[in-house]
Amino acid sequence: MIDPEELKRRVVHALADADVEVQDLTGTRDHFEMRVVSSRFAGQSMVDQHQLVYAPLQDWLKTGELHALSLRTFTPEQWKKAQERQTRTP
């Protein structure tokens, strides 16, 4: 079982300016959804962006303690646009 706050702390620690939101999908503390907004993602491919988030979680992923992680990554600009799109949708 993983403490969602610890999950968040690790990602924030790895990506200094990251804005991270974590959701426990099943209430079992092993399936999480995470949204990460960071300027570190600028100019990086999506694979590289996800790798940056996976890096501080390697041990949990290896042991299977972290069984599933649904991940969305945004640069601050992309996140701003995504939010504008959301508010415009009827």
Binding site: M46, V47, H50, Y54, L57, L61, A68, S70
Partner: protein, 106 residues
């Protein structure tokens, strides 16, 4: 990862335009993320799937091959593109079809 598996992966991703390493197969996916990935990809044509549950050594080796910790894993035209979240995002941005058809800009 054995050299045999590495060359098997090299061959598979070169031979088929779209390859998905997944849990189960297209008809019977055995994980929600694998199901979502195969469903997104199949809209644009045939998908060559490899069931990692049937081959435990493949399941571990593919993670080393791509340095990617989770399944599913998709390759388009020989290039690793990521897992189900990335496929969903590419689909939402309208970029996936061009990648598969090889008509993306640049």
């Amino acid at each position: 990862m054995t050299p045999e598996l590495k060359s098997r992966f090299d061959d598979a991703v070169q031979k088929h335009p779209v390859v998905l390493f997944m849990k189960g197969n297209a008809l019977f996916p055995r994980c929600g993320f694998s199901a979502a990935a195969v469903q997104i990809l199949q809209q644009y044509g045939p998908v060559h799937t490899v069931d990692v549950l049937a081959e435990p050594d493949v399941r571990e080796a593919i993670k080393e091959y791509t340095h990617w910790p989770t399944i599913p894993q998709a390759f388009i035209r020989g290039k690793f593109v990521g897992g189900s979240d990335i496929l969903r995002d590419l689909e939402e941005r309208g970029e996936l079809e061009a990648m598969i058809k090889g008509t993306e800009g640049g």
